[in-house]
Structure formats: structure tokens, C-alpha cells
Symmetry: C2
Subunit: 415 residues, 2 copies
Amino acid sequence: MIITKSLENKLRKFAKLAVKTGVNIQPGQMLIVNASVDAKEFATMVAEEAYLAGAGYVDVQFSESNISKLHYKYASDKYLLDVPEWSIQKLHYWMDEKAARLSISSPNPEAFKGVDPARMAKASKAAAPKTSFFRKFSMASGSQWSIVAWPNPVWAKKVFPEKEENEAMEALMDAILYASRVTSDNDPVLEWKEHTTRLDEHSKLLNNYHFKTLKFKNSAGTNLSIDLVENHIWAGGAEVSLNGFVFAPNIPTEEVFTMPHANGVNGRVVATLPLNYNGKLIEEFYLDFKDGEVVAYGAKKEEETLKQLLEMDEGAKRLGEVALISHDSPISNLNILFYNTLFDENASCHLALGNAYTMNIKDGNELPEEELIKQGYNKSMVHVDFMFGSADMEIDGITYDGNIIPVFRKGNFVF
Amino acid sequence: MIITKSLENKLRKFAKLAVKTGVNIQPGQMLIVNASVDAKEFATMVAEEAYLAGAGYVDVQFSESNISKLHYKYASDKYLLDVPEWSIQKLHYWMDEKAARLSISSPNPEAFKGVDPARMAKASKAAAPKTSFFRKFSMASGSQWSIVAWPNPVWAKKVFPEKEENEAMEALMDAILYASRVTSDNDPVLEWKEHTTRLDEHSKLLNNYHFKTLKFKNSAGTNLSIDLVENHIWAGGAEVSLNGFVFAPNIPTEEVFTMPHANGVNGRVVATLPLNYNGKLIEEFYLDFKDGEVVAYGAKKEEETLKQLLEMDEGAKRLGEVALISHDSPISNLNILFYNTLFDENASCHLALGNAYTMNIKDGNELPEEELIKQGYNKSMVHVDFMFGSADMEIDGITYDGNIIPVFRKGNFVF
């Protein structure tokens, strides 16, 4: 991919967006950037913009997916399963310094093709207990963090199989920038301020309504009623880190989302986009729910894969997330399947089969799990999003005193 | 630079050479590779070849010179001068594991243009005492290490200013491979075995002769007598690491070298290639020695720079190294000025003004400095190589009992 003057101009804005809106870097703060070597020019721009915004230090950690693959394939068990002390100390150092973290993610859907999954699992399992302290810190947003995307040839050809590699790369780059609200004539930082404010307002409004139930209906065949847990919290847009700074964990993001009641879902949902699960594409499928559980289902393609997913465990048959996305958003307007959650989950209203987020219920990070389950929290080892939004989606919210409030009309928020 | 099938074939051999001859990786051993992001394809090949040769783990550490430049330019003093504990622990881990180290060096002669040298010096000074233990380990070859080269556009344009950037890159890539003895139809690992054996034999022969003096003469105007220190050692070709493995620290290497007596150099040396010092090119220069010291000199270009060099300190006026290189070597046949010591010092017989190597004198790593100086060791803060070899260089060795032994005839070793 050749970086033309016009693309460079947009990438410069994208870098500013990542640094100012994404991690909201603070004067003197350390920034850790994870980047593929393929994104070296963009990573350099990010480093420069971070310094210009006052960063005290930018540490760019480059990786090469082919080298990671060789590692899983050939490294001796001694080194594959080892987590050297210095690497743990490094994580502690980042925590102590409250370093911000930015991931320039360039997912290669075939990165680990041909690698024994058992060896990969063994490596993760060996590392997990030694690095869990850092995962906890990250998931609780101990400091600001964000993810932006970068194209690579394999991913680009998957999204645009009919194009030549170079054209596919350019098309995916364009799509990423458009979806991230970076255009040649806007100020994306400003636009994101408005955008996340809008998402925050939607969350606030929805929290104020304190709906008991959401009812979904469209011409695709969805006719679904979802009870929310009583103490549910709507989230979306910007977050605040424990060190006190507003940041945007995902670029792009379009969703506001909350927790369905594990036993309170009834009716039929018809998917409006294929679901990519374990490398298989489940197409034109529906699920019928009764008291929270999937009791019937069908798919035109890969029904067997859908079956495997639903049978992963008890929680895989129930919902863990309901997310509302206006149909008129940059991502859904693109009408592209990205084969990547960062994008696809933001293209359309979606549900997730499987585990719920504790942040979507009051005191969710403190209450014991049994108490959460009693309140309607769904527990599972999977969390799989699927899209069911459409241009004619109608959503009503039913309050505890029986009022019916229009939430979506013709695919978009009414407020 | 496009990696064609034919180039890929050569790079694959180059990678094998780096892994097998350069660091001579051992089964189960860890290999640390330092590489520029620009060398990502080659670094990936090196990782693969290392694993295929039995490496236990290959850790490729990528860097981007533009990001390093931003670091020196903008990092806060707090982070610029900090050497975090984890990074010191990492070096200890490498030492404990006796990891081999390979540097894929891609020197950009303008990498730090515009950076305040005082800030760079401050950073090195802050780091030096904390990492000196590792420098010691490296310089004593505690484990195997090697350097190979990789082109970059700025370096390529410096070497081939008349060519377009892409052509210059290809030409420099070709020159690096040719100089490293990698061709489309040879087995470079085998060729290097013969090559380093030849260098070892030269060293051994020269050590056996135990010359008192070397006399140099050619049509360029050199007429120079160099006494060697009595306990001098000729080195060159392969080395043996403290962990017991033969390795080739420099790819390419053509030299055998030893220690002149700081007070025993007399006559005139005329340089046959320009000398790149501090970014200035000193051309067509000569030096007149008396009892080891430069007593007169002249240069057609940059005589003032030559003066500055000679006046750096007392030792800068005396020799610290004499190196013999057959005129008929791949590098000198290329007849290219690389502006890079890894290549240029191997193109021609050379001398170095300034500090001598302790490895070139018996017990040099153990004896106190005063004792070394008494034996003729030269001490200086500089060590600057310059080329004086030619196609008609004649060298005689004079033994302690007055025998005259021909060493070079018509620019090449006679034995």
C-alpha cells in the first residue's frame, strides 16, 4: 500500500484521534504502543503525535505475526511455557507508571493457520496465572487504553476477495478510516467528542427510563422480548480510567449496551448478517427463545456450527449482552462484513450469546458471582456477538409501571 | 525493494549464513535478534532458519530509527535517563541463558540528524554504568554474537547517489550479499568455512613467524615500517565464545590484525581510499611517522578534519591496529565506498589511529593498563580505521633474527 499525500493527511488525523481521543495521553505520561511491523509508518506518526501531545515516553513494541507463528510452531517447551521474571517486572513497571496503552491491531485471520492449537493453549495456560494481575488491571481500566485497526493483505483479501491485493488493502484502509470517522475534511477529535457525548446521552436516557423489558420487531422476522436485569446499567462511548481520565477504548464504537436477564428472553430473533464463528460462516439463521433459553434454531448454512456453539455450555444458550446501534452509522452504511468484532459488532444492533459483562450491573465488580446469577447475570465460557439490526427495526421499552416508550423507529434511535 | 524469487533464494542463504556461521546457533539455545522494521522479511527468514537449526527460542526485537529519533528529541528527562529495573533483569536473563545475539544492522547515516547530541550523550552516560556488566559480557564473547548488514534507502543513496532510490537499494543489497560471499550458485556456509580457515591459517602463520617489524611499500607512495609489540597476537576470521562455540562476529570479514608498537612506526603511509570521519570525507591524505608519532600530514580535502582527529589526544597520533587484507577479496573487488566500517575496513589493508585491542597482546585482558602501555599498547579515546592497501602492495616481515620473509606480493598474501 502506497501512502499518498492524501492518505498521509488522513493517517495523521487518525494518529491524533488514537492519541487524544483513544488513550487521551496526559503530559509526562508513558504510552505503550503495540503494533505490527506492517504499521510502522502509522506507529511512527502515533509516536510523534503522542510526544507532541506531551507524552513523557512512547515505547513502541513491534511484532510480526509470521514470527509469532514460528514461535508457537517451533519454540522448545522450556521457552514456550516460560514467563521470565523480567517480563513480569515490565508489566509491574507499566502499572506503577500508570502507562497508557494503545493497540494498533492488524488481525490476520490466517495468522496461526497450521499451528497446533494445543500448543497455543498450553502457552496461554502457562502464562495466564503469572500475568493475571495485569489482565485485572487492564480490564478494570487502571489506566487509559484503546484499540485502533490497521489493514493487512490477508485480512483485506478476506473482506474484498474480488479485488487485487493492493486494491483490497486500499479499500480496507478506506473502510477503517471511514468507520473510525476520519475523513479528508473533518476534525475527527472534535467529531468524536460529539459522537461519544451522543452515546453517553443515550446511555443516560436509557438508564433513566430504567426499562423492565425491550421489545424488538422488524420485517426480517424478529419479534423478540428481552427483560433486562433490574439493576442493569447502560454503557457505551467514553469510559473513565481508575487514574481519572476519559478515554475511548474502541475506535470505532457505536454501541450502547446492557445486560439481558438470563431467564427473561422470549420470541424469535432473525440474524441480518452472517456470524463468523471459529472460522466458519453461519448464514441466515434464527433463534427461538423461551424463558431466556434457545429452544429452537435454524440456519441456511453451517447449522451444525451453530449447534456446536449453542451446546458449548448452559450459558451459551442464553444472552449476555444486548447492544443498540443506530442503523444510520458510518460502519453499517459501509455494508461490509469485516470478519472482525471491532467493526462488525458496531454495524448493527446485536446480541451476544454467552457471558455477560459485570460492568452492566450495579456493583457488578464487587458482588459475588452467585449473587449476580440470582439477579439474572448469565455465565458461560463463550461470548459471541451476532447482528440482527435492520433499517426498519422498531424497539419499544416497557417501564416497570407499564408505560411503552419508543426507543427505535426505522432503525434509528428516536431520541 | 521488491523481493523477487531470485533475491529470496539468496536471502534464504544469507539467513542460513547468519544463523549457522555467524552465531552458530546450538540446539535448544535462545537467539536474540535485533532488527530494523525495514528488515522484517529477512528477520522472519532468520527466525525460521534458526528454529530449523534447532534454536529453542528466537526473540526478534524490532526497532524503527525514526521512533528512536523522536525518543531522543522529545522524551522527558525522567524517561530519557531512566534504565528501568526490568530492562536490566532482561540482560541478566540473556546472560544466564547464554543467549546468542545477532544484529541485523541497517545503519542510517542520517538517523539522528537534527537531534541534540548532548541529549544523546546524556542518555548513554546515564545508561552506561547500569549496563556495563552486559557490555563486558558481550565484548568478552560470553556467548556467540554476530553482525550482518541490511540496506535502507538513506544509506543506499549515500553509496549510490547517481541512482534512483529503488535502484540504489537493489544495488546496495547486491553489494552486501556479494561482499558477504552469498551468490546465487554457492553454498555460503561451506564457502565461509574455507574462508575463515584461510584467515585462521594466516593468523597462525603470522603468529609463528613472530615478526619484529612489517615493511610496507607500494606505488601510491607508502613506505612504512611498523614494529609490532613483542607479545603480539594475530587475530581474524572465526572466534570462540566463552561458552565454547566457534562463531563469526562480523559478516563480512576479510582481515587478520594485530598490535603495532606505539613508538615503533616510521616512514610515510598514503591512504588509498577516502576516510569518513564525523560525517566529513578526508581525501587523498598521507601521514609521516617518526618513532610511532605522526610528525607531518597532508590532505587534498578536509585537512582541517584530519588535524582535529590527530589532535583528539596523545594516542590519536599513534597506531592501534594494523590489518592485512588480500587485495583480491569480494569487498575490494566491488570498489565501493560503503561509508560503513563493517564493509570499508575489509576492503583493503588498513591501519587504525588510536586505541589498540587488548586481544592482540598476550594476557591483554588480564594485565594492568600500565604494563600494557610499557609493552607498546596505544591508549586513546578514538579508534579510526583508514585504508592504504593497493593492487601492488608489497609487505615484508622482519624476524627477530633478521630474516626477511615476503608476506604480500602484488597486493595479496603470498602464503
